[in-house]
Symmetry: C2
Subunit: 452 residues, 2 copies
């Protein structure tokens, strides 16, 4: 397995930007026991990430950055409570993070900011030779996707997209089964983000979730920025929780790639209805006049070069229970999470669903078997623990990131291309090949053993 070097902050970042390609192949000297970590964005998501960091002995939490003094206070209190040394705090402007990146104090940075900041911050960090763990979503254009790829290639700086659902226990057990051939050759897959976010997109400007119909300047936390994407954009804004796991099942960018997609969006009703029916909203509330461009449900079909199809659903404006809606179907059977069932020819009773439980236990992934006790209690059912663990372990060992810049670029491209397809009445849109053809020979590396 080829390895990209972990470029630590003592290197001359500027020189690396030119010289990187000559020394990015495994260098044992670059292995580390401790990672000096920074976090940009310690809001709702960043505080959770901070908490996980504070539980790891191999991380020194060196610096944090945010523009909100309240949440910075919460972060500092958490650090103190954990008995850790104070972190340096960067704040005061949207670009305060840049100063944090130039201080030669960090090995790595976790980016937990609003989507629109993911790319500029990732670019700045990679250019400074600071490894990036970037929260999901965020490339706003295909050019941003390319910039991330080219900057990573030029700098040699590690980049990982922190897609936690790739580490969900059932998702990993199915990965185990897929790799052992129990479902046969992969044929069709489904996933999505089906999550009633109305109380995330609107609040009262004080609490994180719900309690009002405010957003933007008058909203707090995610409502402050995320809702604006629903006002202005129409596409699959959040594809990674579905496509990440699915991509691993069919080796996207590693023997396979996305070829083209088509998308369709329904009318937009859910967010407007929420505003006018809310006790603090109503037809006379100023937000009742907002026109939301985002269709309530966006359905995207993706064709791969190996002939599998993928259907993704983005459904965040309507009342519904949470569901990723996984379907993993091959020539020998299929698994679906919505009915917690599986069917495998020759094993399951003919033409009848079986509960997936037995299989999920039998094929529990080695990573989960090994780290179950550490992960349990961590964010989102343990998934968050695993994704941070992977980032940190790959860094320490100077090994390639299991979910890398090519994954991030091709997943993010779904958002851009789905917007384009909807704009063009469902017309198919081709994916760029962000790997420049390397997908043909690259091999799968995600979760091959029980290390990370």
């Amino acid at each position: 397995m080829k390895r990209r070097a972990f470029i630590n902050n003592t290197s001359k970042a500027a020189a690396l930007m030119i010289a990187a390609p000559s020394f990015v192949i495994g260098n044992a000297d670059m292995k580390k026991d401790k990672i000096r970590m920074g976090i940009i964005g310690v809001g709702a998501r960043g505080l959770g990430t901070l908490s996980l960091c504070l539980h790891r002995d191999d991380l020194e939490l060196v610096a944090i950055c945010d523009i909100d003094p309240i949440t910075l206070g919460k972060a500092e209190a958490m650090i103190a409570k954990a008995g850790r040394p104070k972190a340096k705090v960067y704040t005061g402007s949207d670009t305060a993070y840049k100063e944090m990146l130039t201080k030669k104090q960090l090995d790595a940075v976790l980016i937990c900011t609003p989507w629109e900041w993911h790319t500029p911050m990732s670019l700045d960090a990679m250019n400074a030779g600071i490894a990036v763990g970037c929260e999901v979503a965020g490339a706003m254009s295909l050019d941003e996707c390319w910039q991330l790829v080219r900057t990573h290639e030029r700098s040699g700086t590690p980049f990982m997209v922190m897609e936690n659902v790739c580490y969900r226990r059932d998702v990993m057990a199915i990965l185990n089964m897929v790799r052992q051939g129990l479902l046969g050759e992969m044929i069709h897959l489904e996933g999505g983000y089906q999550h009633d976010l109305r109380e995330v997109k609107f609040n009262d400007g004080v609490q994180y979730y719900g309690g009002g119909v405010e957003f933007g300047e008058k909203g707090y936390s995610e409502a402050r920025w995320r809702t604006n994407h629903s006002v202005h954009r129409n596409g699959d804004l959040y594809p990674t929780h579905g496509i990440g796991p699915v991509g691993n099942y069919i080796n996207i960018n590693r023997g396979n790639r996305f070829e083209y997609l088509t998308s369709m969006a329904t009318k937009s009703r859910g967010l407007h209805d929420y505003i006018i029916n809310h006790p603090k909203g109503g037809k006379d509330h100023p937000n009742a006049n907002v026109r939301f461009n985002l269709g309530d449900i966006v359905t995207t079909n993706i064709m791969t070069s190996n002939g599998e199809t993928i259907t993704l659903t983005h459904d965040t404006n309507l009342p519904r229970p949470y569901s990723i809606g996984f379907r993993v179907q091959g020539t020998k059977g299929l698994w679906m999470d919505i009915n917690k069932s599986i069917y495998i020819e020759g094993k399951s009773p003919s033409h009848r669903w079986e509960s997936a439980d037995t299989y999920l236990k039998e094929y529990d992934h080695p990573l989960w078997k090994r780290y179950e006790s550490l992960a349990s209690g961590a964010g989102h059912g343990g998934m968050d623990w695993f994704v941070l663990h992977a980032f940190v372990e790959a860094l320490k060992r100077n090994e390639p990131m299991p979910l890398d810049v090519y994954d991030h670029a091709s997943w993010s491209a779904i958002t851009c291309l789905s917007e384009q397809s909807i704009d063009h009445g469902g017309a198919p849109q081709s994916f760029p090949d962000f790997t420049d053809g390397k997908w043909i020979t690259r091999k799968p590396i995600f979760a091959l053993n029980d290390e990370y």
Copy 2:
């Protein structure tokens, strides 16, 4: 409600073809107590239909037609066993049915033949003034769809598409709920035909299902003709079980219509694998060389003029449990059949699925309440009873068909347009408006009460 006249066989069919438009509005004199019925095609499906006919006192089974002497013998034995008078038998050639239609002996005919015969037989029957109950699927081109529409309009002869799943008990209960507004305004719907047909597409040339890998000339029953569609075509070959019910939920052709679709097909593996892995098949069996054009899974997205989207799945080549895969989602909640669950805002516990059972019972459709005892035990869980009942009752009362030629044409167009879209790399294909704009003012008529 406007009514189209039932044109009985004593009328001068030729004259009607010209004069029909002037007297197709409700004519009480044309009401009937008994229908003289014929069946074209008494194979696997036709025998089931025959059995239902023989249970109805308002039907005289006058004539049957088939090219297979064995199945004709079964049909005659069933008629005799039911204590009914012998039916006239037409056989000997593919076009023997034409003679049956010219004898002025029939009020109506049920067409239960291979798909490719549905349109020519329907056209001949309508031109002869014989009302048509046509099995689902079958228009092979958009022009065939138009021919059906124009022939119906010119002749005034009633036409119904016998889509039985429209009458499934849960489907009708949900229709009831949709009409009462429990799910809010419709937003997104899903359905499909997900049925492992490998033992339908292949048999040993003797039995109906399985036991070998033969099809075409060497196959029996459906394997004799249906499999050839999988060899040559690539599209959603069988959309009606999904789209029929969904169309009723959103009033297709009655205030709404299909605007365009996109389709994607996976690689084709299932049928070839079945042949080479079957004990009577293997790599040296001649059918191992057959190239099946039909992708194992075909996914189609449809946009409607009212802004709902519909996702249809055609999945008939792979091992799996049967499922239509209904999803009916509105601004207030959604129902899915795969997990037998429902969610309704304000009724269901917040963010949690509820079992749909209670709702399906509470909103049981008046038709099912009234006819449960008659329907139970009939084909496909009672659905077949209801669809025949509707055809016969609408005929007797000289009222419009609840699932009419416009439904049949627009549903069948899905097959043709999905083939075109796949041919064009997923490019969107526009639906013709088979109603010539009448969809704007036409009102829903399907199952409005407990009559039929």
